[in-house]
């Protein structure tokens, strides 16, 4: 497939890794923010061909993993109602709520449907005017154009039996939280290519300057990731902290303007709880007042939500990069993809699931990160 296979060439990957080995002189910790990148790094063994001075720390960029427990519990309560058709992306079905998951609700007779595109939910609502169709609208900036368009079209077409339970999260505030968290070891970031494809990267230079970290916009294929890492290491070795674009075939500095306009029309910024991390100010989007009648939170009053997490789960530390999944006591024992205790074990992009599925059972010791001389 064009634009895919040519970025998976093993020989070129080795060459890029060799180049990184040639330029690196000291230990560095680089965080890939996006779960899709975590998945690709572990699946393709990129962490294993890097020189040992370069440690990849896996970030919180899996929307399925960070959707707050209260939102999941609300989704479960709404999905259980007999008049509701509940539409969700497939990877949310097994995410554990306090007691249940969507899969169990479906098994117990709930009308839960997996959709590919948010527009499918609008179509289902159009075709079932006597039912209430609720769409679980989660995701990072990447997914926001699609989710916003679904709500906009529903309003335009007067489809009043459609509503969305929105739990959107934003990357830049999460980067700030990571940098401000005690014991943070991150020296640089790979910015998520498809997030930037929507938003552009004009917001990042201020972050790079404030925390003195290089931020390199990076794609998802093995060669894209290695190129992003190579450029990051080059900057680190030179003592630079700039924003670079290592994914120019897809990302432009201004991003997708048409998408930004619709996002702005439909959403507004709000504080958002991140599962395992806590509330981050200004880190989410919700429907704005013009679209209130399409907001499932207002349409369905859901009370009695008292959340309860597994006491064994250390997903919060995994999401902040403080521990690797295989350092959690429950990893591969009480917690597996079939019996997940935390959301990071559910989504294929969750770090715990990636480590489990690709056999990273043992924690390899890495050299301690040396004090950075400024």
């Amino acid at each position: 497939m064009k634009y895919l296979t040519e970025y998976r060439d093993g020989a070129k990957a080795q060459r890029l890794a060799a180049e990184i080995r040639r330029i690196v002189t000291q230990p560095w910790a680089i965080m890939e923010v996006c779960g899709g990148q975590t998945h690709s790094i572990i699946r393709n063994g990129i962490d294993q061909i890097l020189p040992e001075q370069v440690e990849m720390i896996h970030g919180p960029g899996c929307p399925v993993c960070v959707t707050p427990l209260a939102a999941i519990d609300k989704a479960l309560a709404i999905a259980s109602r007999p008049e509701v058709i509940f539409c969700s992306f497939g990877d949310m079905l097994r995410v554990p709520g306090s007691n249940d998951d969507l899969f169990k609700i479906k098994g117990a007779g709930g009308d839960v449907r997996v959709i590919y595109s948010p527009l499918d939910a609008v179509r289902i609502a159009r075709e079932n005017p006597e039912r209430e169709v609720v769409f679980l609208a989660i995701g990072f900036e990447t997914t926001a154009p699609a989710n916003a368009m679904a709500v906009k079209l529903a309003k335009q077409q007067g489809i009043t039996n459609f509503s969305a339970l929105v739990s959107h999260v934003l990357v830049p505030p999460a980067i700030e939280t990571i940098m401000n968290s005690p014991g943070n070891r991150v020296n640089a970031f790979l910015a998520a290519g498809h997030v930037c494809c929507v938003t552009g990267f004009a917001e990042y230079p201020a972050l790079a300057a404030k925390y003195n970290v290089p931020i390199v916009v990076t794609g998802f294929e093995p060669l894209d990731l290695l190129e992003g890492i190579r450029r990051t290491v080059l900057q680190l070795e030179k003592g630079q902290a700039k924003v670079e674009n290592a994914y120019p075939r897809v990302v432009s500095e201004q991003g997708n303007r048409a998408a930004q306009a619709v996002i702005e029309e439909v959403f507004e910024v709000t504080d958002r709880g991140w599962r395992g991390i806590g509330t981050i100010p200004g880190s989410g989007w919700r429907l704005n007042s013009d679209y209130r009648e399409f907001d499932a939170e207002y349409k369905f009053t859901v009370s009695d939500i008292s959340t309860c997490e597994s006491p064994l789960c250390r997903a919060g530390e995994v999401l902040k990069g403080a521990i690797k999944p295989n350092q959690c006591q429950a990893f591969g024992k009480e917690c597996t993809p079939r019996t997940p205790l935390g959301a990071t074990m559910v989504s294929s992009e969750g770090a715990c699931a990636a480590y489990y599925n690709y056999g990273r059972f043992v924690h390899l010791e890495r050299p301690a990160i040396a004090e950075q001389v400024s």
Partner: protein, 108 residues
């Protein structure tokens, strides 16, 4: 979740006032919303996420990146010079071997 896949736009049409299209992903054809890329044309390649085209793939940049991977080492030195002249950061570069010398000579 943020997975987005490249595909080739085969057909563009209007469905209830929304710009839609058929996109070919290595033989699998799917209906995709093209509303966010008003300039996209049939035959173009695009990145698709949950049924929405969010970016047109820039062929020139794609070729450029592939060439970078091919010429690694040689190109690196040219870039180095570029960076040094373009951005005055006050931080001296780690290596400044003259252009034309073998890049493998600097291997440690």
């Amino acid at each position: 979740m943020c997975l987005a896949v490249p595909g080739k736009v085969e057909k563009i049409y209007d469905a209830q006032g929304t710009r839609m299209g058929k996109v070919n992903f290595g033989g699998v054809i799917k209906e995709v919303c093209l509303a966010y890329l008003p300039d996209l044309e049939e035959g173009d390649y695009t990145i698709v996420h949950v049924g929405f085209a969010i970016s047109k793939i820039d062929e020139e940049s794609a070729q450029q990146s592939l060439r970078t991977f091919e010429e690694l080492g040689l190109l690196e030195e040219e870039l180095e010079e570029l960076r040094e002249t373009d951005f005055e950061t006050g931080v001296s570069a780690v290596s400044s071997s003259p252009k034309g010398s073998s890049p493998s000579g600097t291997e440690s």
